[in-house]
Symmetry: C2
DNA sequence: CAGTCTCATCGAAGCGCTTCGACGAGGGGT
DNA sequence: ACCCCTCGTCGAAGCGCTTCGATGAGACTG
């Protein structure tokens, strides 16, 4: 393995390339970085040598000399409850986008906490940090502020001032659902949202969805109600029953609660409401869930790939010192499937079915 | 931000620590690495300075000087079909274990392919590579061999010679299922495995499970049959019907096919076989699936955390130049839930139910 | 044709760390 | 008293790269 000069055989250095091409080390460096003009002939020769020798710059040396690691950190939550398919697609999108921008991705789990962030930042191991699944009051946020490293959050904390955040625009998502139902002629619609406790905690996305939904309904001149919904089968059933009792002529339903979704869908037919014949259902959920439900659900999707790409894009801009907006909200995309239909012209299903 | 000397304010170097503690730079280094004896008083002083200044070694400089990056690469598959919860738990376990061993984790997706592996290895960015979800004939395997970097595979390729592989011991998993059924008194048992095409491809885990199952049954002196099972509802139903026709008195069933599992469970009652009253069912699947099925399934789980930990452990040993076994097979853990019971003493259910 | 530019290239000085050899101070043995 | 260790510490030489200033060769001016 060792060569006569005592170095490792598999380590080709920039000096080897320079020697092979008959130029100075710095010339090779400039060919690679493009930071100074190099004649075409020299460039060709250097590139040929690089290819022939299979040279790859030593990442550590480069980081040391250039003060740029070309690595970003991705901080993943461990927390359960996060929907995994969405998370994985986000991760994949981030890695792909980062690679396209010439960066690698260092994976951190949140359990190292603030100390991990400090370590990573102080050791110059990464140029910037991407924090996923941010909560309203997230312990990592103050650390991020304190470190002063370029960072981008996926999700919004309570106070996003001075940070850069990306997420789905839940306000517009809620509105989009109302609009879709209105377009189909529905005039009595309802939103079943997160469990009560989530609203009490003032969690951002739940409130924003509700506000968007109600605002849109008002603007469209249709009657809407929004209420929380528990996650257990019993709670979900109770919520649906109560809703149908309070608003018997409701024909459009938005469900923003992944856990409860299946239960809601199961209970509606049993209460004499066919989907979509009697009640149209729009979900706000990952597309996998929407596709696998029965019937396949018209839904506003969480655009994981797009969020990941955007987050990386913003981080790269920050690394380049370019200005970025504090908050980036991605437009919701509504996919029409088979759970929504025009408002039934006849009387409610319960009567029709002789129940 | 800049100090009078022109350096960045937030970068504390080892020289700063040395000055602050009144010792030589090398002394600080030795305190940190423990590679030479340092008097207690000096050590204390240095450690105090480190804490006070908030010093963290520059990762790049360290990698350059020591030829150790303290980073390992984790190569994730993009491929669908991999069960995500298992994958995420594996990833989490790997990151946690790596951190405990003083390493960080660089995340690569497989779509960069061999070139990505080469780049990572040649740039000395990582000390070793962990490859997940290895297939029988995996394009990454030859590259791994060629690179000669320390690596560990999770899963087994067709020819694991000279590699280090970790996985669940599917042979013993199959055997464990048979044993469990035998312990409950069942004497006619069957295995529904992967779709036919998987066996034809000579895929490792499917064959090994079947062999383990049949060997154990023979050893235990009970009658066993193993057959493939398609993934569609129709194929699964057909497989079950055929099985019940061929072996009407079968009372123990092992299902090693995640996709078909739900369909098998749905069809058994319709054929007059209650689970577990008439037929006991053991699954080989992730625990989430086993828990959420009805009835909750007795199952052999894929020990994701343990696999991740083992893989990191083995990689660390390789980095230290210690010998490691070529293959590490993890013992299957069987969790008893509500889908298995003692062999029914009476006649088959079909008769009992008057069908 | 001297003076001035631009272009292409080179040499050398670090970047922050590890590690090797050297060295002074004590603590045995004789 | 001597020599010889061992222990604790220091200084300096790199690790492979980027970047700055310098330099030489032409290509323009006037």
């Amino acid at each position: 393995m060792a060569r006569p000069d005592g170095k490792r055989a598999d380590m080709v250095t920039i000096a080897d390339v320079a020697r092979h091409a008959g130029v100075a080390v710095s010339t090779v460096s400039y060919v690679l970085s493009g930071k100074r003009a190099i004649s075409t002939t020299t460039r060709q020769r250097v590139l040929a040598s690089i290819a022939e020798l299979g040279y790859h710059p030593h990442a550590g040396a480069r980081a040391l000399a250039s003060r740029r690691a070309n690595v970003i950190a991705l901080v993943l939550p461990l927390r359960t409850g996060m929907h995994l398919p969405v998370l994985m697609r986000l991760v994949t999108a981030v890695v792909t986008a980062a690679r396209q921008a010439g960066h690698d991705v260092l994976l951190m789990t949140a359990d190292e906490g603030p100390a991990g962030l400090r370590r990573i930042a102080a050791s110059a191991m990464v140029d910037g940090v991407l924090v996923m699944d941010v909560e309203m009051s997230d312990a990592r946020v103050p650390v991020l502020r304190e470190l002063g490293r370029p960072s981008v959050l996926i999700g919004f904390p309570a106070d996003p001032t001075g940070l850069t955040c990306v997420d789905l625009d839940f306000h517009r998502a809620g509105a989009r659902c109302a609009e879709h139902l209105a377009e189909l002629g529905h005039t009595r619609i309802a939103l079943l949202g997160a469990p009560p406790v989530v609203y009490q905690r003032d969690t951002g996305f739940a409130r924003r969805t509700r506000a968007g939904f109600l605002d849109a309904a008002e603007r469209l001149g249709i009657t809407a109600t929004a209420r929380p919904c528990g996650e257990s089968p019993d709670d979900a059933r109770a919520a649906v029953e109560q809703l149908l009792m309070d608003v018997p002529d409701v024909t459009g339903l938005v469900v923003h609660n992944e856990e409860a979704l299946a239960h809601v869908l199961a209970v509606l037919p049993r209460l004499g409401r066919g989907v979509p014949d009697d009640v149209s259902v729009v979900a706000i959920c990952p597309d996998q869930v929407a596709e696998n439900a029965w019937p396949p659900l018209t839904a506003v999707l969480i655009p994981a790939e797009e969020v990941g790409r955007q987050a990386v894009f913003l981080l790269m801009r920050k690394l380049d010192g370019a200005p970025v907006p504090e908050s980036t909200l991605l437009g919701p995309a509504l996919t029409v499937r088979r759970s929504t239909a025009s408002r039934p012209v006849s009387e409610p299903a319960a009567a029709r079915m002789g129940e």
